[in-house]
């Protein structure tokens, strides 16, 4: 089992959600987040005063998948979020050692 974390542009949420649903993955947790990668923020101008806004609005998506569906999920997220512009975001994968579904008590792959 794997935990996929993706930090993406807020506008990527709808296409990523649709792409994941098409791949048969419906469960996810979404966070509103702020962050920056290599682009290091954006300059805005207020009354001629340049202001560096370092942390830009992002969304963070967490999805837990079985090893068998990992590649399909990664493809769905990266294709859904891709625009080719700076700030498209990052996706990373971590090991998950245990999962429990609270309602039924199912564990691990049954609970994903």
């Amino acid at each position: 089992m794997k935990l996929i974390t993706a930090v993406l542009q807020p506008s990527a949420l709808a296409p990523v959600k649709a792409a994941l649903a098409e791949a048969g993955i419906t469960g996810m947790t979404v966070y509103e987040a702020k962050g920056h990668g290599a682009q290091a923020g954006k300059v805005e101008v207020y009354r001629s005063q340049k202001i560096l806004v370092e942390f830009l609005p992002k969304i963070s998506i967490e999805v837990i998948v079985t090893d068998a569906t990992l590649d399909a999920a990664l493809t769905a997220i990266s294709e859904g979020a891709h625009t080719g512009q700076i700030g498209d975001g990052k996706i990373w994968v971590s090991e998950v050692s245990r999962v429990i579904r609270v309602r039924t008590g199912e564990t691990d792959e049954d609970a994903v």
Binding site: K34, E44, V45, R47, S48, Q49, I51, L52, V53, F55
Partner: protein, 423 residues
């Protein structure tokens, strides 16, 4: 009361209500421009300064401003007999005139707003107690005398003598280019210097809520019709011309700012639009009844550009006029007052001729003298007040309070539940 009086009274009641919309307007405009941790403090500064001034106005400010000039010198009104406005109740209203107590409350709003404008200089770092005391001292020692000079006219029958600028010098200042906007702008400059810069100036962070600032600016624009339109004192052509010129100058001010902003900074911004509107409105305030609508277009356009180009002075000279009272009020106020000497149209209600209409240099001299006198007096007395407060009770909030934001550290409130991760 005769019917003409009643009609004029109806307009002045309307104008007084309209001009009072400028109080929430100014509070929200400044509040929205403040950082998210200081919006409530800024709103409190505007309302608090207004409230202190309003009470003092009733107690003695009206007498000092619009009372018969002490010794006929035109320097300060004599408040005796006018304390508390009580004597205005039941006073006879001359035929066609508006009751004195209504003029008193209309002018009260001017006084309170002028103090509020100064509040743009202090964002995020001034003790609230020091601000309220400053407000009372400044209204007493600066606004009431200066407003007497500019707004108190000799009575037609010669029974009361008014201020020296309005009557002896004969300068034209319809609704307060000198007494209100330049006056407040100069005070903002001086107070900003005595208060010192905010931490991290000039990179202090972005305005907390532009839609709120735009809402406030829009309320100011509407209230300005009461401000300038009511300065006619009744229903006549002067009120119509003033409203027309006010509306037009707001629009050309917007265009003036956006043109130079787009050329110099690459973007036409919403904050620039509302700033240009206010610059244009300030510029037309002294001239609203003395120029043609085309003259108003010119004044608004240039005032909007002047406001834009004077923004950078605070960085060059290092005074932290946080919300730009100097650029938006002082410079356009000076410009509008001086522009009358060039653009005054003899067919306007004021009837004076500027240089473009074959007028002489006399009017220019009067306008320059009015600007210079108010500038020097306000600069000096504001500095004295600020110095005294700084060396006694202190002007500045603690570093801890400033870092945390004055909303939570002084007022025990916060405006926003959202986090503020930005830099």
């Amino acid at each position: 009361m005769d019917i003409t009086s009643q009609v004029n009274t109806g307009w002045m009641l309307t104008a007084t209500v309209a001009v009072t919309f400028m109080l929430p307007g100014l509070a929200l405009y400044y509040g929205g421009l403040s950082r998210t941790k200081n919006i409530l403090n800024t709103v409190m500064v505007v309302f608090g300064g207004f409230a202190v001034t309003a009470v003092l106005w009733v107690l003695y400010g009206y007498g000092l401003t619009l009372g018969d000039s002490a010794g006929g010198a035109g320097i300060i009104g004599n408040p005796s007999g006018l304390f508390g406005l009580t004597s205005l109740m039941g006073a006879p209203t001359p035929e066609g005139a508006v009751p004195a107590i209504l003029i008193a409350v209309f002018q009260l709003v001017f006084a309170g707003l002028t103090v509020g404008i100064i509040g743009g200089a202090v964002e995020g770092r001034m003790k609230f107690s020091a601000w309220l005391i400053f407000s009372g001292l400044w209204a007493t020692l600066v606004y009431f005398p200066v407003a007497h000079w500019v707004f108190a006219f000799d009575s037609d029958d010669g029974s009361t003598v008014g201020g020296w600028i309005a009557n002896r010098v004969g300068a034209l200042d319809f609704a307060g280019g000198t007494a209100v906007h330049m006056n407040a702008g100069v005070a903002a400059l001086v107070l900003a210097v005595f208060l010192g810069r905010r931490r991290d100036f000039p990179a202090v962070g972005r305005p907390g809520n532009l839609p709120i600032a735009i809402l406030g600016g829009g309320l100011l624009m509407v209230g300005w019709y009461g401000f300038n339109g009511g300065s006619s004192g009744g229903i006549d052509e002067s009120a119509g011309v003033a409203l027309t010129n006010t509306l037009i100058a707001a629009c050309s001010g917007l265009l003036g700012w956006l043109i130079v902003e787009r050329l110099r900074r690459g973007s036409a911004t919403s904050l620039g639009a509302i700033s240009g509107v206010l610059g244009g409105l300030v510029g037309i305030t002294p001239a609203a009844n003395s120029v043609s609508p085309v003259g108003a277009v010119v004044i608004g356009l240039v005032a909007g550009m002047i406001a834009f180009f004077t923004l950078g002075l605070k960085e060059r000279f290092g005074y932290d006029d946080a919300l730009d009272a100097v650029a938006i009020h002082m410079f356009p106020g000076i410009f509008g007052t001086l522009a009358i000497a060039v653009l005054a149209d003899p067919s306007s209600p004021a009837g004076a001729a500027g240089l473009l209409y074959g007028g002489g240099l006399g009017l220019l001299g009067a306008q320059v003298l009015a600007v210079a006198a108010v500038f020097v007096y306000t600069f000096a007395v504001t500095a004295l007040i600020a110095w005294v407060l700084k060396t006694t009770i202190g002007l500045r909030a603690s570093e801890t309070q400033e870092r945390a934001g004055l909303d939570t550290s002084i007022h025990a409130e916060t405006a926003y539940e959202v986090d503020d991760i930005r830099s």
